[in-house]
Amino acid sequence: MTGESEGERNRSNAFVVSARKRTLQKVAKTTGEGMLFSVAFFVAVVVLFIFYFVARDAIPFFQIRGFSEFFTSTNWYPADEPGEFGALAIIYGSLMVTLGSAMIAVPMGVAAAICLSDILPFSIRQYAKPVIEMLAAIPSVAFGFFALVVLAPLMQDHGGPLLMWAWWILVSPFLLLSVIVISDLLTANIKDEKRREKRHWMWLIVLGFFSIFLLFKVGAVLNGIQILTGTNALNVSIILSFMALPTIVSVSEDALQAVGRDIREGSYALGATRAETIIKTILPAASSGILAAVILGIMRALGETMVVWMASGNSSHIPEPWFNYLEAIRTLTATIAGDMGEADQVTGSARFHVLFAMGLLLLIISFISNLVSERIVVRQRKILSGQ
């Protein structure tokens, strides 16, 4: 053979794939894909199996006792002979602490996310975000212990003054801000500058006095409240809101970041201030992401067990009046945890299956919420990518 063909062989050897090598590659490719697929498949199957097994043990309860008692009665006496399985008060308790924790965690979480993404300089944000996310790493039993041993006695001994100070600290900045904004808005239409200035001051003084009156009056009422039991819905709501915070802050900060520099700079270029940019441009653009964050945070609060079991008082009744957060309540998760001990296939069927019915209810609620938040995130991505 000539030297030329030898050179050609040398060159092509690096690129030509031998039959053996090709089969090897193929095998590696299929096994790799197969492994990844089976892992993904396994995860999906696990979810389905959880659904199946919980439903399998939940359905017998409804066959034995029917639907109406479970959803309409507040008599929860599973251990008695004969037992009663009214879960209305327990479902109500779950919703109550979830709503309570959302009312605390959502404003705080969204405000913190805005502060992190748009107000703090980058160097501080780098440290602040991991610290907030550290909250998620604290075990729930530690939160529960804190709630039971520190927060509960504190509420009992200094409940009224604590509530008053919380009201002052939380509400006064909001009132201050709203007084300024409202008086601005009320006088915005007045053309004459001097008259506008005068009117503005007048409104500021009137609204200022009104809000100070409100602060003191409500503060005095709160100061007079005596909290009888520290293991109550408020205690649990506070602790749960701290547990939901990292999720809400982290996910909504991501959503705010995803809005992008171009939109912010466009807003500044049109002469908007930072406050206007945040309120009128960034928040609407990130709203669906923030909503998804809120739903995820709420799910965290709804599903939490240990804190609730330790600090809610576990008292299966609807508080009187119905919005009284200072009474002990009982939640679905805590009931499952607390009653699992003795409820067994051997010792009582309705009593065992009712816990699965509660589990199924929780599963359905969280499934729907996840679905909704998933849809919202998808929609936001579409909007942001301009489709």
Binding site: A89, V149, G341
Partner: protein, 270 residues
């Protein structure tokens, strides 16, 4: 790397042989949180004396019964007698539960030390737990709503309380709070001014105030001679008549050392 693997292998083999060995030489106790402290001090004593490993779990009397039925423990510690349904379930699984009374326990009604109330009758306690008496001033205390504290449904102490005080049929009010152990009840009562709860006599200390029931204060003497009405036996349950080491363990409460330990923990020996 290879050294590490060898070490791991060694550890695994060691662990396996250890558990295989343990099947013969370990006594597993599970059940009541009331009996727990006694069982633990017995366990320490027994391990020291005979070199046998004894593990004690406290998950509630109901769980103890369940463990014995499922043969996952050697001895079930219970602060109540086994229920008919439990015995039937055990028989079905080929387990024959045998009861051994190890000590007596008074159920102490406890309140916050600052509460002026000193004594309640059984019928007053019943009304409080039923929810018909809702304010301390109705039983001679301050004007404050009563925070009623009970135990969860797998507690033997709860069962004994219902049996001895409120009656099995009575429903405890839904306003009452539920705590999951003697220690948790003590903690809540010691920090909550207007609360009332019930505890095993063994758990009582100065952080709570024990009130007299029908005029009798629970102590070793009144529990032993039956003057204090809210008294119950504490049990160890075994599968069949015990033999060998398990029998020696069950017999501990009859020895002077065992009696000493029981008294030291605030319970009353037989």
């Amino acid at each position: 790397m290879i050294q590490r693997l060898l070490l791991l292998l060694f550890l695994i083999v060691f662990a396996v042989s250890e558990t295989a060995d343990a099947a013969v030489k370990t006594i597993v106790l599970d059940g009541s949180t009331t009996v727990g402290p006694v069982a633990k001090s017995f366990a320490i004593y027994f391990t020291k004396k005979y070199g046998v490993r004894v593990t004690v779990s406290e998950s509630g009397s109901g769980n103890g019964a369940k463990s014995l039925i499922n043969s996952s423990c050697t001895i079930a510690t219970m602060s109540r007698a086994m229920k008919e349904a439990e015995i039937a379930a055990a028989r079905k699984k080929g387990v024959n539960p045998v009861a051994h009374v190890i000590a007596f326990d008074g159920l102490a009604m406890v309140i916050h030390p600052a509460n002026p109330v000193r004594s309640l009758s059984i019928s007053q306690i019943r009304s409080i737990y039923q929810g018909t008496i809702r304010n301390w001033k109705e039983v001679g205390g301050a004007n404050a709503r009563i925070v009623v504290i009970q135990r969860e449904s797998n507690s033997g102490t709860q069962e004994s309380f219902k049996e001895l005080v409120t009656g099995k049929r009575m429903r405890i009010t839904g306003n009452s709070e539920t705590q999951s152990s003697n220690g948790a009840v003590k903690n809540r009562v010691s920090t909550t001014l207007s609360s009332i709860g019930f505890l095993s006599l063994g758990f009582v200390d100065s952080s709570v105030k024990v009130i007299a029931v029908n005029g009798v204060v629970p102590n070793e003497k009144t529990v032993k001679n039956g003057a204090y009405k809210v008294t119950r036996p504490l049990y160890l349950y075994t599968n069949g008549q015990p033999s060998g080491l398990v029998k020696q363990f069950i017999d501990l409460p009859n020895t002077p050392e065992g009696k000493g330990m029981i008294t030291e923990l605030g319970l009353v020996s037989r």
